[in-house]
Symmetry: C2
Subunit: 269 residues, 2 copies
Amino acid sequence: MDNRPIGIFDSGVGGLTVMREVMEQLPYENIIYLGDTARIPYGSKSEQTIKKYAHQCSAFLKGKDVKTIVIACNTASSIALDSLTDYFDIPVIGVIDPGARSASKATENGRIGVIGTTATINSYAYQEKIMEYRHDAEVIGIPCPLFVPIVEEGWEYSHVAELTAEKYLTELIEHDVDALVLGCTHYPILRYTIKKVVGPHVKLINPAFETAKDLKKLLNEKNLFNENYDIPRYEYYATDAPERLRRIGGNFLKKEIDNLYEIAIDNLS
Amino acid sequence: MDNRPIGIFDSGVGGLTVMREVMEQLPYENIIYLGDTARIPYGSKSEQTIKKYAHQCSAFLKGKDVKTIVIACNTASSIALDSLTDYFDIPVIGVIDPGARSASKATENGRIGVIGTTATINSYAYQEKIMEYRHDAEVIGIPCPLFVPIVEEGWEYSHVAELTAEKYLTELIEHDVDALVLGCTHYPILRYTIKKVVGPHVKLINPAFETAKDLKKLLNEKNLFNENYDIPRYEYYATDAPERLRRIGGNFLKKEIDNLYEIAIDNLS
């Protein structure tokens, strides 16, 4: 048994969709969430910069004595997972592998779509990982940079959202994909609109859900469950504008955000 | 006469619309442009963080021996101008005052709209400055966070752009504004779509154009013109992903971007 918290980080509020799945699937675990809101978004930045930020976020969580680190950000997972795994002496898991594995199982015709930020798609992390699980797969990646601001505006059911989804996703429909990875933490909030556009026969894969399942398995294997069945403690840290995290984040987490602290970005090294 | 360059900074590529106006109105001036692409966008960050970033950008330009600093970013202008003016011993001008003055002159019915990022609108900088010039004005500010990613996607003439503009701007039409400040560097690229939505009787104010006019006046008054009529030198610095600045920036500047250098963000203090 291990009552240390689980550490989760993301470039901003989006990773709260991952935290929500972890809270549901592991209801007795303490969790520390870090949103690097001072430097959001990671998705349009260079690999070198994203790696540096991911290391700083992980070091902060390690300093809080977490037992494992979850990279909730697809961009950071796709670029920094190996480097963080090498560097830190606690298990680190990202969202790419669970999402890719699930998509490989879900497809019947072997044609899989992946949508995400420009950096996630250009890194080919999902595409390569899916090919490892299923050599004959045909994977089509499409960057969808407008989806994040649409979700942050609360416009997920709007005509703008639908029209934007049509512009981005038509190519996937033409390629007859039957599984689609929602490769950015914000996208599960758009799932009804995306489903409407791609059609009911396309299975949507939510890496947040799959990652929480993997995390549960990992804690079980390594005997790391918290077996103190008290009400767990949730702590939130933001590197800038914590009130924005509280306001927008509530919609992602479907829960009030208390125990929220601002930390200076200079303390992240 | 003073052949030192003019320094211009922005959170990213958007400020190139200001640089373009300066190049057109002051064709003999050398210019150094700094895009703080590692930390873009400023618009959703806190005042304290924006001030810190603006000081670091200005210090970098001062280190390059510029004769004046232009804050091309509306967000940074609205929050950091006074503090930069106090700190640096060279003239610093922002885009808010020129834009506000021009809007005050352009309106006939006294009802003025301002659109910009969330931080710019919430700072009330345009609203307050317009009221200084015209006490009886009624100013309505609307944050339009989707406009920047629409421009960066190159979707400025799309149905998505038009529908988004309708969602944001209907309130301004209902309030019968007859002048509208494009209070974000990206928005002039959307001016045809915006005009189509608000109607031909609404005058669009481009602060980039007004700022270049003010800069020319300032150089004249302080006797700072470069009177060396050679081909001027333009230098560009980006704190991250310079290739993205070159690729997207060309569309803002309507000119090839050469002499482009990447600088480390840690060197900005």
